[in-house]
Amino acid sequence: MPALPDILFFVFAFLTLLCGVLVVANPFSRNPVTSAMFLVLTIISMAGLFVLLHAFFLAAVQILVYAGAVMVLFLFVIMLLDLKEEERRKVKKFGLIAGLVSVGAIATIFLKVLVTTQPGAGLPVPTLEGQPANLGHLLFTQYLLPFEVVSVLLLVAMIGVILLTKKDFK
């Protein structure tokens, strides 16, 4: 009888990969809105994986920032652009086959490396807890400068977006 976290891992991993497939290649719909919705589901099940890895703060941030803010932005832009013509276009066979072959090769390399090197063998029992207090302590001591730089980056992004979306953008 496997332990509960192991069962949950397989559930969340299956959900993540299934929804990931449906983002990229949905056989029923090629509407970007469907892709965006499945991306939300992928992100939420990935937050479940984060919880299983005891990264509680990151799981919360993942749902708040990705599934909340970023995906709302995506949906907003999709609605704004009115992308009906995507459905009418044919899929290019050549691009699809070339993509499948190259990506299959890369996936084989990844998995082969994982099987042969066994990176998890001989590691101690994990005891790390990703609570906000632990993470916050590190963020405000060792990573204080990057933290401040990131805030400047967000400001720059905000100004850039306002400039780019102005009506009389040259």
Binding site: V24, P32, L39, M46, V70, A107
Partner: protein
């Protein structure tokens, strides 16, 4: 079967490959952008699992920064797509082959 680091890394690798497939095979700018997000998320998963199994919190701090930068990147990228759509009335990469606006 005990779930270890390899299992998480396998999920992360497969997710990354899915994102790559989306970038190569799909022709809609917005779907390509979502596939990029998928690849970023796969990298995040690998970092968090390495962080957990090596008992080192630095990986999670890096993921925190990646999420922040990805949010900024998404906003700028979507603004570029909107600006491009205003000029060319399309979000399809095969119609956007000229360097000149």
């Amino acid at each position: 079967m005990h779930v270890g680091l390899e299992h998480y890394l396998a999920v992360s690798a497969l997710l990354f490959c899915l994102g790559l497939l989306g970038v190569i095979a799909r022709r809609n700018l917005l779907v390509i952008y979502m596939s990029l997000e998928l690849m970023l998320n796969a990298a995040n998963l690998a970092l968090v699992s390495f962080s957990r199994f090596n008992n080192n919190l630095n990986g999670q701090v890096l993921v925190f920064f990646i999420i922040t930068v990805a949010a900024a990147e998404v906003s700028v990228g979507l603004a570029l797509i909107v600006a491009l759509y205003r000029k060319r009335q399309t979000a399809h990469v095969e119609d956007l082959t000229r360097m000149k606006l």
